[in-house]
């Protein structure tokens, strides 16, 4: 049995290699006793300090950090839950469904705010609003949009300027994009008008925040809607052109969540990692925890933080999802 497990452990990276990862990095000693495999949608740069800190406290553990998109991540983990110990994703709905379906281990007595955890198994550790990101120089003399309404007006008034110059998530590919879109649609009819306008100017669709921001910096995009503010903020510091705007009427705020797999190869190490992560979040030292920590209050300054609630599964319903995607496609994909 032990040899089988060892074999599986040796083969696991090989199988995983077959997967097309966005990023893949080993932390810690090569010959460590335990390898903690983290499946994540968060860029490695944000998590490297956190993992280093964890390894410093647990030298016997090495960490393999695997990055992929939220929808992909959900699919991979559902297919091979035994291969991964910890799952980190920004798609709260998919994560909640994983926990609901019993993929997450229950960690008891974790001191964490009640609204930031679900069923003692899914723990939120960041508060990140969806933002409008603008390349200031590409925008030129046009006014900077502060609300979704401004955005609609701007695109309607200057269709030629913005032709193929606006980016947003492809909700069919991105779990986070789908979450933002459904929450937007739930909150206001503006979303559908905005989507329609974006469709009319032939908006470009992205799978991930990173690429969208890359194209913004290069000037290929003038604006991007529903980009992760946290990612954009980091890039904005490097480039003066980038401006991150939180829609002033209602910024949709997402919480990044972590769960320990119920079939983790070493449940205690997985649990330790989750606890360590939550502790770092609570301390909030930017050097050790470069992500935006949880807002002090649940609804901070009118920000609508998406609640961890079984209702998140509503739009994951096969029929609901099919209907939503159809409607979204009708609005945005105009040339097909």
């Amino acid at each position: 049995m032990r040899y089988l497990a060892l074999l599986a452990l040796c083969l696991a990276p090989l199988i995983a290699k077959a997967q097309d990862w966005e990023d893949q990095k080993m932390f810690g000693a090569e010959n460590a006793d335990t390898i903690l495999r983290i499946l994540s949608s968060t860029d490695t740069s944000f998590f490297a300090p956190i993992i280093d800190d964890f390894i410093a406290a647990n030298p016997a553990v090495s960490v393999e950090y695997l990055v992929t998109g939220t929808a992909d991540l959900n699919k991979i983990f559902r297919e091979t839950p035994d291969d991964f110990d910890v799952v980190i994703s920004s798609a709260m709905d998919l994560q909640l469904k994983l926990a609901n379906d019993g993929f997450a281990a229950r960690l008891l007595d974790v001191s964490h705010p009640d609204w930031a955890q679900w069923h003692d198994s899914l723990f939120a550790f960041t508060s990140e609003p969806a933002a409008i990101v603008v390349n200031r120089s590409a925008l030129g003399d046009l006014p900077i949009p502060n609300t979704r309404q401004d955005l609609i007006q701007l695109m309607r008034d200057n269709p030629d300027r913005f032709q193929s110059k606006v980016g947003t998530y492809d909700v069919r590919q991105s779990g986070l994009g789908y979450l933002f879109a459904t929450q937007d649609a739930r909150a206001s009819e503006t979303f559908w008008r905005l989507t329609e306008v974006m469709g009319r100017i032939n908006a470009r669709l992205y799978c991930c925040s990173g690429q969208m921001i890359d194209d913004l910096i290069s000037g290929e995009l003038i604006m991007a809607y529903n980009v992760l503010g946290s990612y954009a903020q980091v890039r904005a510091q490097a480039s003066n052109d980038i401006l991150v705007i939180l829609p002033s009427e209602f910024p949709t705020t997402m919480m990044r969540t972590v769960l320990a797999s119920s079939t983790a190869s070493d449940p205690l190490v997985a649990e330790d990692f989750v606890r360590h992560l939550l502790t770092l979040q609570a301390v909030g030292d930017p050097a050790r925890f470069p992500l935006p920590p949880l807002s002090a209050t649940e609804a901070n300054e009118g920000q609508t933080t998406i609640a961890l609630n079984p209702a998140l599964m509503t739009y994951l319903d096969q029929m609901k999802r099919a209907a939503f995607i159809r409607e979204w496609e009708d609005a945005i994909v105009q040339d097909e």
Partner: protein, 455 residues
């Protein structure tokens, strides 16, 4: 006393046991009933929410472009949020084939229209509560049935039930403790009545056979009634037998005196030594009988007077002086010096006749057992309390008999041929007791017996 009584169990314990046992049973019943009710109410609450959620999903079922679609609101699932973050599962079936949701979740019973089916089952090993409803939609190609099952784990429910159970258990325990305290109080107050009766009977003097007049609870009425009847019967019997003894003694004494005088007269006339000896022993026997009869009479008198004690101030010194005077001839006959030692008058409230009788018996005894050429001293002291000691120079009491000598008809073993009935000390003791005093017997260190009356 109770050592001789055949005791089985205790009324108080039995009462307390029944009451506390009853309280425990009631507390247990309370716990079970309230918990069952709470379970029902809590389950009802969960069922209501599940039903609302299920209905809100089922209501959105429509036929669009020839196929059944459901566009259920966000609230359908958000209303299922609980404090314990219960997990939620649902499934939508059309004519038995899954449209949406969890394919492994299926209602065990076929749903009926317009009626929600509630079932408790398990899903992936977790206990769940499931609500299933059904609707029939009429499409172009005929009727189509849509059924929606919505299920929720029962963590919040069991949390609630645990809280309720804990509280009810505490209430039950409090109820039990309170009832037990009340039970113990009731039991001891009930047995307290019995104790009071027992005490009032125990506290009585040995001669007191008067009926119990204290108020008693009605349940004890018959017992006290029979006790009173029994005591009055006993009293009657005792009085009768005392009367009989007195009468008998009296009737014997008179003829005995006649017989004695005849014997004395005959003795004067008889010359023959054998006959004289026979007559002399006859006179002795008559004396002994006469004395016994006298003492029996005395005893009867003492018993009667002690029961109906009439008191007046009696100077014991005066009384003793008379006695000494009267008995000095008897002492002289035996060459015994009889002296009374007193420093002051010793006044006692009591019955002079009884006291005189008692003291005479003591002096009589002393004179009887003291050898010739000795002294019998009567020592009276009045402070702090009245004490009378009669001391003699005789052989003293046998140490092992001191405790029993004052009983009726008890005589010392080495009394030899002394005339006695065994009632002298009894009379002295009963008189002393009737006057609230005690009598003690002991031997003097320098030899001789000492009887002391302490009043």
């Amino acid at each position: 006393m109770t050592d001789d009584v055949n005791v089985s169990g205790s009324l108080r314990n039995r009462l307390a046991l029944i009451l506390t046992g009853g309280a425990a049973v009631l507390a247990a019943i309370l716990f079970v009933v309230v918990r069952a009710l709470a379970t029902q109410v809590a389950q009802q609450g969960q069922d209501n929410i599940l039903n609302a959620s299920m209905s809100s999903i089922l209501d959105t079922a429509i036929i669009r472009d020839g196929s059944v679609t459901l566009d259920f609101p966000y609230s359908s699932l958000s209303m299922l949020g609980t404090t314990a973050d219960d997990r939620v599962f649902y499934a939508v079936y059309e004519n038995g084939s899954l449209l949406s949701g969890y394919d492994t979740l299926q209602s065990p019973t076929a749903p009926t229209p317009d009626q929600t089916e509630f079932t408790s089952t398990t899903f992936n090993g977790d206990p769940i509560r499931m609500a299933t409803g059904m609707r029939t939609l009429i499409g172009a190609d005929g009727p189509r049935t849509v059924s929606v099952s919505i299920a929720q784990t029962q963590d919040a429910l069991s949390d609630t039930l645990n809280t309720i159970s804990r509280n009810v258990a505490l209430i039950g325990l409090g109820f039990f403790v309170l009832s037990s305290a009340l039970a113990l109080w009731a039991a001891s107050s009930t047995s307290g009545q019995l104790h009071r009766l027992t005490r009032s009977v125990t506290r009585r003097g040995p001669q007191d056979l008067s009926p119990v007049t204290k108020a008693v609870p009605s349940e004890m009425g018959p017992l006290v009634g029979s006790l009173n009847t029994f005591m009055s019967r006993l009293d009657h019997t005792l009085t009768q037998s005392e009367d009989f003894i007195a009468e008998a003694a009296h009737r014997i004494r008179t003829p005995l005196a006649t017989v004695r005088s005849h014997a004395e007269a005959t003795l004067q006339r008889v010359e023959h030594a054998d006959n004289r000896a026979a007559l002399q022993s006859m006179v002795r026997a008559i004396d002994e009988s006469s004395r016994a009869a006298g003492q029996l009479l005395d005893h009867a008198m003492v018993t009667f007077r002690a029961e109906n004690l009439e008191t007046e101030d009696v100077d014991l010194v005066e009384l003793l002086r008379e006695l000494v005077q009267r008995m000095t001839p008897v002492a002289d006959m035996k060459d015994i010096t009889l002296t009374l030692k007193s420093d002051s008058p010793a006044v006692l409230s009591g019955d002079a006749i009884l006291l005189q009788n008692a003291l005479r018996n003591l002096i009589d005894n002393a004179l009887k057992y003291a050898p010739a050429e000795t002294a019998v001293v009567i020592d009276v002291s009045a402070t702090p309390t009245v004490n009378i000691s009669v001391l003699d120079g005789g052989p003293g009491f046998a140490p092992d008999e001191i405790a029993t000598l004052s009983g009726r008809f008890v005589r010392g073993k080495d009394t030899g041929n002394k005339v006695g009935s065994g009632l002298g000390l009894t009379i002295a003791k009963e008189v002393t007791t009737a006057h609230g005093g005690t009598m003690s017997l002991h031997n003097r260190p320098e030899g001789g017996a000492c009887v002391t009356l302490h009043f």
